[in-house]
Assembly symmetry: D2
Homo-oligomer: 357 residues x 4
C-alpha cells in the first residue's frame, strides 16, 4: 500500500445527501483533505452552522464554485450537483488538470446525443457541446472498469439502480448464460435516492407506510443499465425496468429476472459463476443459495450482497442484489474510484460492515 | 337492498390480525351479530380485557371453539385460524348447516392432494381426508366467482398475494391478450401479512428500514395463483412469483410482467380492457394511464386499485395492483363474501375510502 | 336525532391534510353536501385530477375562495387555511350569515392582541382589526364548550396539542386537585401535524428513524393551553410545554406531569375523576389503571383515550392522553362542532373505532 | 497511545443486539481479539451460519459459556446476557482473574438488596449472594468514573436510560444549580432497547406508526438513575421517570425538567456549565442554545449530544440528551470502559460520527 501525503479534494454541492456522505468519508479518510467546499445557495456561510451534526475542523466557509478557486486549491474535485450543473464546471476543471469524480448523470453516457435524449428537459436548461469529454469519461464501476479508472481524468460515478442491477447481471451476460431478450428488473429504493430538496411525495407523511411504483416506463436509469449491459453482452439489448419507492431511508434491492439458456443450470452453479467473478472484490459478497439479502445488511457500507435462485419449473433465474444507495450506489463508490485513481487500496476509508439492526 | 334481521356469526380465532379486522367490521355492520367468540389460548377470558382498543358490547367471554356450541349459536362461522386448524372444524360445521367462510388456505385448492403437496409440514400435523369438501368449496374472489359464492356452504377466502395478483391478470388471460409463458410477478407486502405471533424477522428492529425478498422459489401462493389463472386461461400455466417484505404494516403491491400477444396494443387499450371487466365492481378501480397506485391509497379499505403500462420497446405489459392485505386481501373480502351469501349489497359495511395520509 | 335536509358546506383549502380529512368526512356524512370547493393555487382544476385517491362525485372544479361565491352557495364554511389567511375571509363570511368553523389559530384567542403577540410574523403579514370577532368566537372543544358551540356563528377549532393536553388536565384543574404551579407537558406528535407543504425537516429521509424536540420554549400552543386552563382553574397559570417530532404520520401523545394537592389520592381515585367528567362523552374513553394508551389505538378516529397514574413516592400525577392529530386534533373535531351547530348527534359521521394494527 | 499486543476477549451472548454491537466493534478494533464466543442456545453452531451479515474470520464455533474454557482463553469477558444470568458467571470469572464488563443490570447497584428489590422476579429465578462483588463493581459511566474504571476488575455498563439522563443532569446536581425535588424525566426510546427476543409489542406491525408510554411508575431504571444522582447531589433524591416506545430502531431522547435554584440563570449560562464539564470528553458534545438534538445525529455512534433551554417565565430548565441506545447506551460504552481498563484512548475503535440521514 502506497501511502502518499494527503491529496487535496474539492467538494462541490456538499449539503445534499451525496455531499454529506462524501464529507463524512473524506473527514475520516487518512489520505484526503477537504481543500475546498463549494456551494451556490450556502456560499458565504460557515459549514458548522449549516450542519451541526457533521462538523468539520477549522469550520470552513462555503464558497462559490468558481473554477479558478477550485483549481488553485485542489488536485481532485468531487461534484455532487444536480444533473446538468456538473457539465458547466467539468470542461474547465479538466482543462486545468483537476481530476474529477462526478456524481451526476452528465458523463455516464459515451454519447452526448444519448444524454440529450434521456435528459431532455435538463439538456434544454443546460446547453453543452462536450461530446469529447462524454466519450473520454470513464464509467466508475470499479469491479468492471478498474484499470480505466486508475488513469481517468474524469470519472462518472454510476447511478444507484445501475450499480445494484449491473453487478449481479453482468457476469451472466458476459458468460452468455442468459437470454438477453426479456430481462425484467424490478427495483426498490429508499427515499434518500430522491434527494434532500423538499418535495411532497418524499414527505414522511406521504412516503411512510406505503410502497408505490414510479416512472414505470422510461426511467432514465434504464438506458444507463442497457449501455453497459449491451457492451458486456456484445450486442444491443433492452431491459424492462421498474423502480419502486419504499418507506426506508437508505438501500436498494434490485431483483433481476431472466431466462437461462441452459435449463440444466442449478442455483449452485449460478452462485459459482458470481463467486468466480467477484472472489477478489471486497465490495461484493455472494450469499449461499437460499440466503436472500436484506438492504439492512449493507446499510452504511460500500458493499453489495448478491444472491441467486433458479426456478427449474420455469427455467428462470432470479438475481437479487442489495446496496446502500448513498454509498455503494453513489458517494462510497465515488471514493472507491478516487482511491483507485490514487493507487490506494480500493476500499481504504470505506465501511464494509455496518451496525445491525 | 334486502335488510333482513341480523344474522348470527361466530368468529373463531379473534386475536390475530385477521380476527381483529373481522370483529371491527362485524361490530359496525348493520346485519350481523357476533354470536360466538372462539379461541384456544384466550378461552375463558373476557374480550375487553384482552383487547382494550377494540371493545365489544356486553364484553363477551372467549370460548373454546367446540362445534356444538358454535352450531347452537350461529348461522355463519368465520374461521381466522392458522393453516391446518380450520380443517379440523369445517367438516363438522358444514354438516350442521353452519355456512363457513374460512380465511386459511385449507380449502383454497380444489384438490386435497395439491394442498398436501404445497402445505407438507402442516398436512403432516393435521391429517385430513375431506377431499369432497375441497372440491365443493368456493374460492371467494367475488369479482370472478359471484354466483357460486351466493349459494356456497363453504367459502375459502383467497390469499392476499393471489387477490392482488389475480385481479389485474385475469382479464388479460381471459381475453387471451398476453403470452401465458414467462409471466413474472414481483410482489411487495407489509409486515401484518406475517401475522401477530411474535417472530424475530417481524420485529420492528429487524423489519424496519429494510426490504428483503423471501421464499423466492416456491412460495405457497404461487400455486394458488396458478390454479385460478390456469382455469381462466384455459390451460395450465406457470408463474414466476417473488414476494418481498416491506417496512410498512398494511398493503400489498403486486407488479405483473407479461408479454403482449399483439405488440400494437397501447396502455390506453389495456386500461380499457380492465375498465370493461371491473366497471360494475365498486371494489376495483382502474387508474388512468400514467397514474400509478400507492398502497396508502387503499389502506384500511376493501378496494383494489389497478394501473397498466405498456412498453412498446419491449412489447411488454406491466400491471400494477394495490390492496390492503388485511381487508381486500383477507378479512374484508371474507365479509364481502358473507354479504353475497346473504344477498346483501357486496360492500355493505366495508370501507371503500380511507383517511389520507 | 333531528335529521334535516342536507346542509351546504363550503370547504376552503382542501388539498392540505386538514382539508383532505374534511372532504372524506363530508363525502360520507349523511347530512352535509360539499357545496363549494375553494383554493388559491389549485383553482380552475378538476378535483379528481388533483387527488386520484379521494375522488368526489361530479368531480367539482376548485374555485377561488371569493366570499360572494361562498355565501351564495353555502350555509357553512370550513376553513382549512394557513394561519393568518382565515382572518381575511371570516369577517365577511360572518357578516353574510355563513356559519364558520375555522381550523386555523386565527380565532382561538379571546384577545386579538394576544394573537398578535403569539403569531407576530403572521400578524405582520396579515393585518387585521377584528377584535370583536376574536372575543365572540367560540373555542371548539365540545366536551367543555358544548352549548356555546350550538349557537356559535364562528367556531375556532382547537389546536392539536391543546386538545390532547386539555382533555386530561382540565378536570383536575376544575376540581382543584393539582398544584397549578409546576405543570409540565411533554408532547409527542406525528409528522402530519407539520402539514403538506414540503419542508426539509419533514422529509421521510430526515424524520424517519429519529425523534427530536422543537420549539422547546415558546411553542405557540403553550399560550393556547394556558388560556383555557387558566379559565377553568380560575386564575392565571403557566405551563412548561415541550413538543417532540416522532416518526409516525398521525397521532399525538401528551404526557402531563403535576403535583397532587392531596398526596393520599390514588390512581384509581384519579381515574374516577376523569370517568365522572367524560362518562357521557363518546369521544373520550378513560382506561383502567395500568393500561397506557398507544396513539395507534385512536388512529383514524375522533376519540381521545386517557390514562392516569400516580406516583406515591413523589406525590405526582402522570396524565396520558392520545388522539389522532388530524381528526380529534383538527378536522374531526371541526365536524363534531358542525354537528353540534346543527343539533345533530355529536359524533354522527365520525369514526370512533379504527382498524388495528 | 500505548499499543500493546492484542488482548483476548470473550463475548458471551453474542446473538442479541448488545452482542452484535460488541462483535462488530471488536472485529474492527486494533487491540482486541475475539478469543471465545459463548452462547447457550446457539452452542455448537458456526457463527457465520447464524449471522450471514456479520461474518467473523475463521468462522468460530459458538461454545457453551463454561468458566474454565473462558478463563483459559481470555483476559477479558464481555457479558451480553439477560438480567440474572450474568451473576451466575461473574463470581467465578472474577476469581480466575478475568476482568469483566457486564452489560446487564446485575452489578449496577452497590447493594445486592436493592437489586433484589428492583429485580424481584429475576432475583427469584437467580438466587445469588455476591454482595461483596456488588459493592466492588464499578458503574461504567466513564465521564464520571474514569479512574475507578481503569483499575476495575468488574465493570457494570450503565443502562441506556440512565446514561442518557445522567449525562445532562449530573453537572447541575454537582453544582447545586437545580432543586433536587420535582425532577421529571420523560424519555423516548427506539425498539432495539427491548431486545431481539420476539415479543408481540415489539413487532413491526404493533410498534410502527405509534408511540406509547410504558412502565409509567416504577421502571427499573428509575432507581439506577437515582443511585448516582443522589451520590452526586450529596443526598437522596427521587425522580419522576416515564419511558416511551418510539417507532425507530435505535436512539434515546431523554428530556429532563427541573427548577433552577437561581432564576436569573440563562440558557447560555447553563450551556456553559455543561461545556465546562464535558470540554475534554470526546464522547459528549454540547449544542449551542436553540439547537435541539435529534437521535439521528448520534445514531451508530458512541456520542451523546446535549442541549439546554431555560424558561424564564417558569424558572425551569429543560435538558435534552440523545444517544444511540445500543452504543453509548450499551455496547459502545462497554468498549469505552474496556479501552480505559487497558489504558488505551477511550474512544479507540468507537465511531463518533455516523452517516446521515
Amino acid at each position: 500500500m502506497t501511502r502518499e501525503t494527503s491529496k487535496k479534494v474539492a467538494v462541490i454541492g456538499a449539503t445534499g445527501y451525496g455531499g454529506l456522505q462524501i464529507l463524512k468519508l473524506l473527514k475520516e479518510h487518512p489520505n484526503y483533505d477537504i481543500a475546498f467546499l463549494g456551494g451556490e445557495r450556502s456560499s458565504g456561510k460557515r459549514w458548522n452552522d449549516i450542519c451541526p451534526f457533521l462538523t468539520l475542523d477549522q469550520n470552513p466557509t462555503v464558497q462559490k464554485p468558481e473554477v479558478n478557486l477550485i483549481a488553485a486549491n485542489s488536485d481532485y474535485a468531487i461534484l455532487c450537483l444536480p444533473n446538468g450543473l456538473a457539465s458547466r464546471l467539468v470542461p474547465e476543471l479538466v482543462s486545468r488538470d483537476v481530476r474529477v469524480v462526478d456524481l451526476s448523470a452528465d458523463y455516464r453516457y459515451r454519447s452526448l446525443e444519448q444524454w440529450k435524449d434521456v435528459y431532455v428537459r435538463i439538456s434544454d436548461q443546460n446547453p453543452r457541446d462536450d461530446s469529447d469529454l462524454c466519450s473520454e469519461a470513464i464509467y466508475g464501476l470499479p469491479e468492471w472498469n478498474f484499470s480505466k479508472i486508475q488513469s481517468a481524468q474524469l470519472v462518472a460515478a454510476p447511478g444507484c439502480f445501475p450499480t445494484a442491477s449491473l453487478l449481479p447481471l453482468l457476469p451472466f451476460l458476459k458468460q452468455g448464460l442468459i437470454e438477453t431478450d426479456g430481462i425484467v428488473i424490478d427495483a426498490k429504493t429508499g427515499t434518500s435516492g430522491g434527494g434532500r430538496v423538499p418535495q411532497e411525495h418524499l414527505l414522511f407523511s406521504e412516503a411512510s407506510e406505503t410502497i408505490s411504483p414510479y416512472a414505470v416506463i422510461g426511467h432514465r436509469h434504464t438506458s444507463e443499465i442497457e449501455q453497459l449491459a449491451s457492451e458486456v453482452a456484445g450486442h444491443d439489448l433492452q431491459i424492462q425496468f421498474t423502480p419502486n419507492l419504499v418507506p426506508m431511508v437508505r438501500g436498494i434491492l434490485s431483483t433481476v429476472y431472466a431466462r437461462l439458456r441452459d435449463p440444466g443450470l442449478t442455483a449452485e452453479d449460478c452462485t459459482t459463476v458470481l463467486d468466480a467473478f467477484y472472489r477478489d472484490h471486497e465490495t461484493v459478497d455472494v450469499l449461499s443459495v437460499g440466503t436472500y439479502p436484506s438492504t439492512k445488511w449493507v446499510r452504511n457500507t460500500n458493499k453489495s450482497l448478491l444472491s441467486v435462485q433458479v426456478d427449474t419449473r420455469t427455467g428462470r433465474i432470479v438475481l437479487m442484489s442489495v446496496i446502500d444507495n448513498l454509498l455503494k450506489g453513489q458517494a462510497g463508490q465515488a471514493i472507491q474510484c478516487l482511491n483507485i485513481m490514487n493507487n490506494l487500496p480500493q476500499t481504504l476509508g470505506l465501511p464494509l460492515l455496518g451496525f445491525y439492526p
